[in-house]
Amino acid sequence: MSNKLKIVHYLNQFFGQIGGEDKADIPPRKEDGPIGPGTALNNSLGEDAEIVNTIICGDTFFNENLEESKSEIKEMLKEINPDLLIAGPAFNAGRYGVACGTVAEIAKTELGIDVVSGIYPENPGYEMFKQYAYFVETPDSAAGMRSALPDMIKIVKSYIAKNGELGSPEEEGYMSRGVRKNIFAEERGAARAIKMLVKKLDGKEFETEYPMPVFDRVDPVDPISNMTETKVALVTSGGIVPKGNPDHIESSSASKYGEYSLEGVMDLDEASYETAHGGYDPVCANKDSDRVLPVDVIRDLEKEGVIGEFHNKFYTTVGNGTSVANAKAYAQEIAENLLADGVQAVILTST
C-alpha cells in the first residue's frame, strides 16, 4: 500500500481513559487520534499506519443498547472510512469482548473493513464473533497487555506488507476464524491423507487439515451424599413469574432473568403465579405453576426431612429463542448467587 493505512481503534470506557464501572453507561463517542493502548500501537506502527480516530463506548451501554450502539458506531465508521479497525484487546472481559466482536461484525459484514483484535479464547466474544476478526490470543487480564499489543502489531504489519491478504492462522499468529479457504496444495489429497495416516501409525504428530469442532462439555460434579442436609434450589427456563410479571421478562428472547422470594410460599396458585413464556400454550402453567416449578412437592419433601432445606428464592427466565450466550451469562450470575446463598444442589426445569 502506498499511502498510510488509516486505522480506527475501538475501546471501552476503561481503556478509553474515561472511567471504570461508574462510566460503563456512556454512549459511543468519537475522539481524534490514538488513546490509551492505541498510543503504543500507533507508535509501533510507525510510518506505515496511523490510528486516525478512537471510538469509545461504555460496556454496559453497548450491551444494554445494542441496536443503538451498533447503528451509531456504524455511522462513525462510515464517516471515517478507515482501511482497518483495531478492537480492544478485550482479554476476558465478557461485555467488552462481545462489544469488540459486535463492532467487528458490523465493520466486516456491513462495511467490508477488516478487523484485528485480541481476546482471551474463553471470552464469549471469541466464540460468537470469531469469523469477523483476526483475533490474537491474549491472557485473561489486562496484565497481559504487554504480550497482546506486540502480537496485534505483528498482524497489522503483516496485513500491510501483504496488502490485506493474510495467510493462515498458524502462519500469522491469530486464532482460527473457523473459515475454510481453498488453497492450491502441492500434493493431491490422497497422498496427503496417506502421509498423515503413516505418521499416525508411527505414533508421530500430524496436523489435520480439517479439525473437528470442540464441544463445550462440563464434567459432572460429584453427587450429593446426604440429601437430608442439603439445601436445594429451583431454577427454570419455563418462565414462571409472580402474577403480572413484575420485571417484564420477555415472552421470547428474554433479555433478563428474575429472582423471586419463596418465603412462606407453600404452593404456586393461579392467583399469584403465571408463566411469561411465549413458546408454549400457557393455560396449564397459568392454572397451576407447580406444573413447571414444583414448589408444592419440594415444600413437602422439606417438611418430611427428605431434603435439608428448600432455598427461599427461585430463579427464572424464558428459554424461548433466548441466545445461548445470554442464557449462559444469566446462569453464571444465578450460579454465583446460589453459591453465595449456600445452595448445594439445583433442580432446573425446562418446558
Binding site: 464441544f215 463445550d216 462439555r217 462440563v218 464434567d219 459432572p220 460434579v221 460429584d222 453427587p223 450429593i224 451424599s225 440429601m227 442439603t230 436445594v232 431454577v235 427456563s237 419455563g238 408454549y280 400454550d281 400457557p282 393455560v283 396449564c284 402453567a285 392454572k287 397451576d288 407447580d290 406444573r291 413447571v292 416449578l293 414444583p294 408444592d296 412437592v297 419440594i298 413437602d300 419433601l301 427428605v306 431434603i307 427466565t317 428459554g319 442464557a327 449462559k328 444469566y330 446462569a331 453464571q332 444465578i334 450460579a335 454465583e336 446460589l338 453459591l339 445452595v343 448445594q344 444442589a345 439445583v346 433442580i347 432446573l348 426445569t349 425446562s350 418446558t351
Partner: protein, 80 residues
C-alpha cells in the same frame, strides 16, 4: 444454563421434556418430563394423582443428584 450451574460446582439435574435438547446443551443428569406445557404435571389427572406424579419426578431428580456418573445420564421415572 444447566452447564453453567454445573461449571460453578453445584450438582444440577435437568428436568426437561425434550431430552435430545437437554443432551445437546450438555446437561449431565437428565430426568425426562411429561410434556412441554406441563413438564411436572398432567391436567388430565385428578389433583392428588397429579401431585403424586410430580413427586415421582422430583424424587427421581433427587436420586439423580445422589448418583455418581461420569457421562451424560438419563434417569427415567418409569424405568423402575
Amino acid at each position: 444454563m444447566v452447564k453453567e450451574i454445573e461449571r460453578a460446582g453445584i450438582p444440577v439435574v435437568h428436568v426437561a421434556t425434550v431430552v435430545p435438547i437437554s443432551m445437546t446443551v450438555g446437561a449431565n443428569r437428565i430426568v425426562p418430563a411429561i410434556a412441554i406445557p406441563y413438564p411436572l404435571g398432567d391436567p388430565d389427572l385428578g389433583k392428588k394423582e397429579e401431585k403424586k406424579l410430580r413427586r415421582d419426578i422430583v424424587e427421581k431428580a433427587l436420586d439423580a443428584l445422589q448418583t455418581d456418573i461420569d457421562e451424560q445420564t438419563v434417569f427415567s421415572v418409569n424405568e423402575e
